[in-house]
């Protein structure tokens, strides 16, 4: 598997950018992103039709329950918060050529500690201080968890695709063990942590259920975008991603940079968990596995690491996830329809990438 920041595509993209206006560039990247979405909808619609369901009614329900309805819209905004934070982490790792596919494990590890810590701290500190401590805890625990693949990569050159994916399984089992053995609430019959009281959760906005985690997520995505494009640190990471040998030749400290990429990327996944637990869940059950991280991966690629696109795609994904759940129930089909659509999206993305590469090659010759 090649590095996510594919040299040729980027070269062509950056080369093209010299002859295009900003408007043309934006419209082109929007078209590039929309074609796979439309393709996925058409094929998904055909499948629905084959199953005897009305695709228009299904998609209509998706929009209705995910975007138009007030309850659905609030749920969509709430779901976006952790997704945005995971995306912020991936926007660091992928341009730097590191395939962090272990965000699910990092999320759960951070979440377990936050869930255990929250109810213990709440009686002593409150409000801003409590959330700051929980956010930092989630970030740091996930970052420490990612040191395993980071060190394996930086010192022994071990492929992080395998190690991060595998560590997710270990992280899930380990967090279940922690809940069952140490963090469980003795007053309940199911193995789970104590519940963070609703009064101690993240403040809500606009007299809705939407908590301030959404703001944290939006700020994180925009900040990462800015850092990657405008700071020396961001440029170093991109150089490592584009040509690691050049980074070494230029005297960059690859070990330190690799550790930084892993810990920052994982830290945002841990922060995502902290936000969701202190904002919505308030509790972690043993065997808890929300498995949201891998779903963010294609979205971040589709957005080409650009903050505005990342936000748009995550919003669209959340609409589809929330709306799709009730639309599936209404149409009496499994909830997996949403995952199926994400799969289609990926295939169309890959196809789009291939077509683009081919046309630009023809262009050159």
């Amino acid at each position: 598997m090649s590095a996510p920041h594919d040299g040729t595509t980027v070269a062509l993209a950056e080369h093209k950018s010299q002859t295009e206006s900003r408007l043309e560039r934006v419209s082109r990247s929007m078209t590039n992103a929309l074609i796979p979405v439309v393709g996925a909808f058409i094929i998904g619609g055909l499948l629905l039709a084959v199953l005897g369901r009305n695709p228009f009614a299904f998609y209509g329900n998706v929009i209705d329950h995910g975007l138009i309805g007030s309850l659905g819209r609030q749920e969509t905004l709430i779901r976006m918060a952790p997704l945005l934070l995971i995306a912020a982490g991936l926007m660091i790792a992928f341009p730097a050529g590191i395939w962090n596919l272990g965000t699910d494990g990092q999320y759960v590890m951070g979440g377990v500690i936050v869930a255990a810590l929250g109810p213990e701290l709440a009686p002593h500190v409150s409000g801003f201080v409590l959330f700051t401590i929980l956010f930092i805890a989630g970030f740091v625990v996930a970052a420490i968890w990612s040191l395993i693949p980071a060190i394996l990569k930086a010192w022994y050159g071990i492929n992080e695709i395998i190690s991060t994916l595998m560590l997710t399984f270990i992280g899930l089992r380990f967090s279940a063990f922690l809940v069952k053995e140490y963090f469980y609430d003795r007053e309940t019959t199911v193995p789970q942590t104590r519940v963070l009281a609703v009064a101690d959760r993240l403040p809500r906005m606009f007299s809705s259920r939407v908590h301030i985690g959404l703001i944290v997520g939006l700020v994180a995505v925009i900040a990462v975008h800015f850092v990657m494009r405008n700071t020396a640190f961001g440029l170093r990471l991109r150089i490592v991603g584009m040509n690691p040998k050049a980074a070494i030749h230029a005297g960059m400290n690859m070990k330190v940079l690799t550790l930084a990429i892993f810990t920052l990327s994982a830290g945002f996944a841990g922060l995502a968990a902290a936000v969701n637990i202190s904002g919505v869940d308030g509790v972690v059950r043993a065997e808890w596995n929300p498995a949201v991280g891998l779903l963010v991966v294609p979205l971040v690629f589709l957005a080409r690491f650009h903050a505005a696109s990342v936000i748009v795609f995550i919003a669209a994904f959340a609409v589809f996830k929330v709306g799709g759940e009730s639309a599936s129930r209404k149409a009496d089909i499994p909830n997996f329809m949403v995952l199926f659509m994400v799969g289609l999206l990926l295939i169309f993305m890959a196809l789009g990438e291939y077509m683009q590469l081919r046309s630009s090659r023809k262009h050159q010759s």
Binding site: V10, A11, N230, A232, N243, H249, A250, G251
Partner: protein, 517 residues
Amino acid sequence: MVLASEITPTVELIGITKAYPGVVANSDIHLTLLPGEVHSLLGENGAGKSTLIGILSGMVQPDAGEIRINGKTVRIHSPRDALERGIGTVYQHSLLVPTLTVLDNLLLGVDQGWKLGREMAMARLHELATLLDVEIDPSSIVGDLALGQRQQVEIVRALWRGEGVLILDEPTSMLTPQGAEKLVQVVRRLVSKGLAVVFITHKLSEALDLGDRVTVLRRGKIVGEVTPDELHNKSRLQVTDEVLKMIFGEKSDASQGTSATQLSDTAGETFRVDHVSVKGDGPHPVLDEVSFALKRGEILGIAGIDGNGQKELAEVLAGQRRVDNGEIILEDLSIQHLSIAARQAKGLRYVTDDRHGEGMVGPLSIALNVVLKRVGEAPFWRWSFVRHGAIREFARKLINDHDVRTPHEEVAISTLSGGNMQKVILARELALAPQVVVYNKPTYGLDARTTAIVLARIADQARAGVTTVFISTELSEIVAICHRVAVMYRGQLSEPISVRPGIELQLGALMTGSTAV
């Protein structure tokens, strides 16, 4: 003179010419390959050997000239065609797939993989193994074989479709002495069975040991031949001397006027390399007790044929490769344990020869590439924030000063031509005020005019007090600007000697591992 007319030559090249844009790679080449004869082909890098092999093996079509095989005029259309006609080539770099078995490797490219095909292949393998007098287990995985055995499989592959001519391109370069000895036996046996063998090498002693006839190429032309009679009758010393003159030219053709200036006697020693060794993967060290000391402003040339440890030496000096033993001293300070960045901060710069691989980041602009080694530094970054204006202004100045041909500085560097890329990389390193610069083949791929400019700049910098290690395969460049020169051969560096006119022959002898001169 041997009466060649009595025997039909296996292959005859008559007046072969091949030109590439800007260079005539082969000019009116006449070459005769006789059955039962090992024909050694000698010449510097770029003398035209590769093109000649390419023409024989069907990879390159000549612009003019005639090829005769067994007396009949033919055209060799493709590598496959060459193999069908019994001309097989064993290249320097293995073509075998290491994860497959010997037999599967031999069946690759053969259309049939059926059972019958495999049985016939087993028979053919047995036949060729008998011809070579070697044992080859068809079921062993190629990656598990020793390099010498792998090469035997390569030879079998080359002769698979017919045994006429075997071309060996630098066949001993990766072999142990024992492996090389076995190769000599195999080659001797093949010629005794009537094959013609072409033996291409940089090592003079091997060419004379194994060859029945020696032909020397220089700048695309055949500049001399040693016949079997001469090889027998003349003393080894005499032949060596003659061949060296053919390879490197009779007289110095390098007085390009940039000649190094006199070093002042008061200049102090500033850079010292003391018994530096680096272990290799094989039995031989990559660097073997390399030592030299340089005064401020001195240019030391390091000559040698590619692959004798020059790149490793450069990387060791820059900090990109670990030293197993020895010391590197810059201004009385031991630096062999310092990181690349720390050495750069001390004023040690390295101009790599691998411009695509590590010298630049292709998708980034020229502007960002000129500050690649200064990311985060003022004035290009302030409080870690990029200042595009300052970077672009700096890049525009360098582009102007070094005559880089580009529409503007925001172009991705990968879109430039090789020569212009090299100008950007040189500009980047020369823009800093370095103490010591290590150049690895800095003029590679540049045209004559740009080469002269680059050499002049290096000499100018040295006059301003920059100490320079100048690695090159071009003797003329070394003679033009260096104060002293040493030769790398198999990881060892010879004692540096002062550059004087006509030194090329002496260097040539050292480069080819021959002690005679």
